[in-house]
């Protein structure tokens, strides 16, 4: 067997783009639920905090938030046959 010495590949380093010829060396790896920082590191993605409104009776079909005339933060969302308006959905959830 021919010996060619040690080889080392780094994190970016996938030496050749063999899976798909047009892949660039800095592009996609199979990354599920991870986040990539600008320095190339990888960490598991963060999770969800429950917003203030309790569970609705149907799937949430749309959301939109805005600042009302009195300066309060409000948002609207659809669920089933209703459209609900809610005060700041993060007031309690994130304060805790």
């Amino acid at each position: 067997m021919k010996q060619t010495g040690d080889t080392i590949s780094n994190f970016e380093g996938i030496v050749l783009n063999v899976h798909k010829a047009r892949l660039q060396s800095s592009s996609f790896q199979t990354d599920n639920n991870g986040d990539r920082s600008d320095r190339g590191s990888w960490k598991v993605r963060r999770g969800l905090v429950h917003a203030d409104p309790a569970k609705e009776g149907a799937a949430i079909s749309f959301v939109h938030g805005f600042v009302a005339n009195d300066g309060s933060y409000v948002f609207i969302h659809g669920n089933g046959g209703d459209v609900e308006g809610v005060a700041d959905p993060t007031a309690t959830a994130l304060a805790s």
Binding site: G5, T7, F11, N33, V44, G47, V49, I76, E84
Partner: protein, 706 residues
């Protein structure tokens, strides 16, 4: 929480925008709605002039009872007089009433009776609906100078009866022509300049206008029609059917018939009339109601509740392959309007109707829906059937090359289900500086998975949730800009703010031990302080480690979870994790330095990372030549101080300990790999706060065996 509308409709999802502190939302089927953020309910945008009948407003009861002292006193001559409703909250106005003529004698005031109905004695009618009067609470009387044709504001009075004294019973005009001419109208004076908006699916706010465009297909239930008649009966009622049909532009196609019939009008919530008799008849067949008016409608500048049906421009087709409008995205001083395979940049100088111009963007690119287009830091991103692309002012830039397999693959696990396109959406995540497009894969009809673009690095990744996320948007909150998710179970979540999927940012209950007497659906735990506020853990998922099953938590007390049923009841002492956030990274393929023709014999796999504060493990496995499964070892391996070896001959995983102080572990990788080695790193536990910096392989290479 305020129920601001009962016009929610999962079959016709709303779009929303805001303008001067009011939210506007539309779905193409029901009337566009507005909510100010604190009132007890929303309302339809705009208001109809209620007193437009020929008998309702006339000059029979106008009197001139009081002589005025100059300069007051209405100037002698023929005046035109009309009135309209005004909202003191938003400045919105209605169309004017029909005008009446009145010849003043000169030097006197004019008095016009004001009442609550359209009787002849109440010439000026307050809006008859109390809920509408609350918003359109003022009445403006407009009048021309003698023999003139231009209207001026003659008087503004209270139109709300819920006031001290119950509101005025007469409008008393005293202005001479000289004074009147100093009061020009602030709004467009045309008779039809302040109509209510058309029913269109998309509402978009930009540069002082609201834009309304995009149509929906209504096909709920079945339809029936008798041969040779025009009356169509729908099997499923819709309260908006009548009003929607009356706006025009609708056609209906029964089943696979070769003819689509024009709809003449709506009758009630289940019945409509065709323009011509149906040929052949149909009984309880599938149908499609669709609108062929692909126009873009524009509100009056500064008056988002004022529309004129003639203020529109035709959307297309301008390009080959043009479709109905699917989305819009504000860009600079214009808007990118998308079809399925078209995208036009539309810009205007002073008025989009009169001086707007449209420039097709290169390439057959478009967007599948309004929910998948987004402007992030001055660039418009959109998802279409070919991938994800960007517009920055010149041409289209295809971005999604590395993940295009999702758009063209038929491989299980990475095939987008285009039939579920109405549920796709995207949002900007400021704290991660990424855009996530949520898409339904394979047989899913709602999105559990997303494709993510980090806009700074332009790196792509993917992810998924245990629950389908049906909508998302970044919204302003007292805690800053936050991205909100709405899921299939009715929960609302704040994205990417916690260390796990759950109620708070604490990890105190992330890892639990099953207590005694658990059943398949009721799991006593080692914790006595599970969160119960808000919805508690309802809506989260828990992960039973030994069975590998995730189940939806439907309720909880301080110490017990109620879940959907596990296959078998967890045993006392088992581990239960909350908010399983498994992350995996599979590198692209390592080869020997000489290229893929060589056989590799790695000695060690090296991992460099920021150490975790807790004793948690990764799982690391090696995959040869793009095989579907990781490679097993031919002999039992011994654990090292910092790495647990595969537990058996069928186990593929090394488990490095993440609280290793120097943030570095190396594990034996010694076996032959013919040409390629992929490393898959899995972080299976909740609250794993490590960060991976590097992966390296060393070893020798040589010719593969012949």
């Amino acid at each position: 929480m305020t129920n601001i509308s009962t016009l929610g409709d999962s079959a016709h999802r709303h779009t929303a925008t805001d303008y001067r502190h009011d939210a506007y939302f539309a779905n193409g089927w029901d009337a566009m709605q507005i909510w100010d953020g604190y009132d007890t309910g929303g309302r339809a945008v705009g208001v109809a002039m209620s007193n437009s009948g020929t008998d309702a407003f006339d000059n029979d009861d106008i009197t001139e009872p009081n002589a005025q002292t100059a300069p007051l006193g209405v100037t002698a001559g023929l005046h035109l007089i009309r009135y309209r409703y005004l909202s003191s909250r938003t400045g919105a106005v209605s169309n004017p009433s029909i005008p009446i003529e009145f010849t003043a004698v000169g030097g006197y005031d004019l008095q016009i009776p004001v009442g609550d109905d359209s009787s002849d004695a109440s010439n000026i009618q307050r809006h008859p609906t109390a809920g509408v009067r609350r918003y359109f609470d003022r009445i403006v009387i407009e009048m021309t100078v003698a023999a003139g044709t231009v209207y001026f504001k003659a008087l503004e009075i209270d139109g709300e009866t819920n006031t001290a004294g119950g509101g005025p019973t007469a409008a008393n005009i005293t202005l001479s022509d000289d004074a009147l001419a100093q009061n020009p109208l602030l709004w467009n004076p045309g008779a039809n300049d302040h109509e209510q908006p058309p029913r269109r699916r998309i509402v978009l706010s930009h540069r002082g206008h609201l834009f309304s465009f995009g149509t929906v297909i209504h096909n709920t239930g079945t339809a029936s029609v008798t041969n040779g008649t025009t009356t169509v009966t729908l099997g499923t009622a819709s309260t908006s059917l009548n009003a929607a049909m009356d706006e025009g532009g609708w056609q209906i196609r029964f089943g696979t018939e070769a003819t689509a019939y024009k709809v003449a009008s709506g009758t009630n919530s289940t019945t409509l009339e065709l323009a011509v008799n149906h040929s052949g008849g149909a009984s309880a067949v599938a149908y499609k109601l669709f609108n062929v008016d692909n126009s873009i409608y524009v509100s009056r500048a500064g008056y988002p509740e004022s529309w004129n049906s003639s203020d529109r421009f035709i959307a297309g087709p301008t390009n080959e392959g043009a479709s109905n409008l699917t989305g819009g995205c504000a860009f600079g001083h214009g808007i990118v309007f998308y079809g399925l395979t078209t995208a036009d940049y539309f810009a205007w100088s002073t008025d989009p109707v009169t001086d707007g111009s449209r420039s097709p963007i290169a390439g057959k690119r478009g967007a599948v829906s309004h929910q998948v287009v987004i402007n992030v830091e001055g660039a418009c991103y959109a998802l279409d059937r070919q991938g994800i692309w960007r517009y920055r002012g010149q041409g289209s830039e295809h971005l999604s090359d590395p993940v295009d397999t999702f758009f063209f693959s038929t491989r299980a696990g990475s095939t987008i289900n285009w039939a579920a396109v109405e549920t796709f959406h995207c949002a900007w995540h400021a704290n991660l500086r990424c855009i996530r497009w949520f898409v339904a894969l394979d047989a899913n009809t709602v999105p559990y998975d997303y494709i993510q673009l980090d806009v700074d690095t332009e790196q792509w990744s993917t992810g998924s949730f245990e629950m389908a996320i049906e909508c998302s948007k970044q919204i302003p909150t007292a805690q800053g800009m936050q991205t909100i998710y709405g899921d299939e179970n009715g929960h609302l979540w704040i994205a990417d703010t916690s260390l796990l999927d759950g109620g708070t940012s604490s990890n105190a209950y992330a890892v639990l031990t099953v207590g005694a007497s658990a059943t398949t659906t009721s799991i006593p735990t080692s914790s006595t302080s599970l969160p119960t506020a808000l919805s508690g853990l309802d809506g989260m998922f828990c992960y039973h480690v030994s069975s590998g099953e995730s189940r939806l938590i439907t309720a909880n007390t301080a110490d017990t979870l109620t879940t959907s049923a596990f296959s078998t009841a967890p045993v006392e002492g088992d581990a239960i994790w909350l908010g399983r956030i498994v992350g995996t990274l599979k590198t692209k393929a390592f080869t020997g330095n000489s290229g893929p023709g060589e056989q590799m014999r790695p000695r060690h796999l090296h991992l460099a990372f920021e150490p975790s504060g807790e004793a948690r493990y990764l799982r690391v496995r090696l995959i040869e030549d793009f095989a579907g499964a990781a490679k097993t070892y031919g002999a039992t391996r011994a654990s090292l101080t910092e790495v647990l070896a595969p537990a058996s001959l069928t186990d593929t995983d090394w488990r490095p300990l993440l609280n290793t102080e120097d943030g570095y572990v190396r594990m034996p990788a010694g076996m032959n790999f013919n040409r390629f080695v992929e490393v898959e790193i899995e972080s299976p536990e909740p609250f794993n706060d490590f960060e991976l910096f590097g992966v390296a392989i060393d070893g020798v290479e040589g010719e593969p065996p012949s």
